[in-house]
Symmetry: C2
Subunit: 197 residues, 2 copies
């Protein structure tokens, strides 16, 4: 009898939620978002799939909870995608980035996610799946250019590196530059990455 068949053995307790999350992190890390199922995760955690749904809602909601990514892309990306010119889209991306990173609470959470990814392969795999599916995928899809995934991830590399040097290494003059100065410098670069020369 599979572990998933032990329906009712765990009607939900103090750490059942945590065990489902841990199972979800392992599955999403190893099999990716598309390759994982709520049923498989429930089986790994030894609970009924209905309990997983009760705790977390849809598979996508469970994925977002497992990734613990402190930014709600659903709330932020539409403004970027809706911007009409390449320059406006690049600027919307840059401003979204700084709005997120200049907030100390979010920044500390993002750094914690990055630190985990640098030290644990499972965390890196989970972050990779999340970033591709939830952050870069929707942007790439809306670009209407060749090589959208490569372009989007190169633009992301610019911003991830800027975050590392400004907020972690605190390299000057990046660390104390105003966000307006940085926006002015990165918008043409994001535009070049995303839309070409």
């Amino acid at each position: 009898m599979s572990r998933g068949g032990r329906t009712g053995r765990r009607p939900g307790g103090a750490d059942t939620r945590g065990e489902v999350l841990a199972a979800a992190r392992r599955r999403f890390a190893h099999d990716g978002y598309e390759g994982s199922t709520v049923r498989g995760i429930a089986a790994d955690a030894g609970v009924d799939p209905a309990l997983v749904q009760h705790y977390f809602g849809s598979k996508r909601d469970l994925f977002k909870a497992a990734a613990a990514f402190p930014v709600d892309a659903d709330a932020l990306l539409p403004a970027v995608i809706a911007a009409e010119t390449p320059t406006a889209r690049a600027e919307a991306l840059a401003r979204m980035f700084f709005r997120v990173w200049e907030d100390e609470t979010t920044r500390l959470q993002l750094l914690s996610v990055l630190r985990s990814a640098m030290t644990h392969e499972d965390a890196a795999a989970l972050l990779r799946a999340f970033v591709a599916t939830e952050l870069l995928g929707p942007v790439a899809e809306a670009l209407g250019v060749d090589q959208p995934a490569l372009r989007t991830s190169l633009a992301a590399a610019q911003m991830v590196g800027l975050a590392m040097l400004r907020y972690v290494v605190q390299l000057e003059p990046l660390a104390s530059a105003s966000t307006e100065t940085l926006v002015a410098h990165v918008v043409p670069v994001l535009e070049l990455h995303l839309f070409g020369a």
Copy 2:
């Protein structure tokens, strides 16, 4: 009597070299390269300055040993600075970057440096001082443009982020793209950062 005055108490032993390195890391992290002296570091370690010189050579040699940065900038930067056109310089930088990061030994050492910087403020301070003094300073000085330090560090941000996403998070398609593809995409961006539109 200061600790630095205890000449002869430590003529050099199994861990004397390590203690000098530890003292150097603290000093360079707290006071920066310009603000640190071999005399002060020797005093912190309780040894004679001559012993520090005997072990490590000049202050700059000690700094490089303390930072434990696995890349010899002195060997790599002249080729970048000597390149004559903006495009050639950007391309030399990009190729130098991939030569360093595609080598597994160097990559693991660089990742170790980055991990330390993400978890220890002293390591971040040391990396900051090293990157500014040894890597970006010489490039910025040779640029002959306005805002050289800002431009150089924004270009560095592009490459640091690319390293994070390609080698740590292993985000696709960055992780499996050929270095030629990546060079083709980042050269115009580095040129834009370093020399303007």
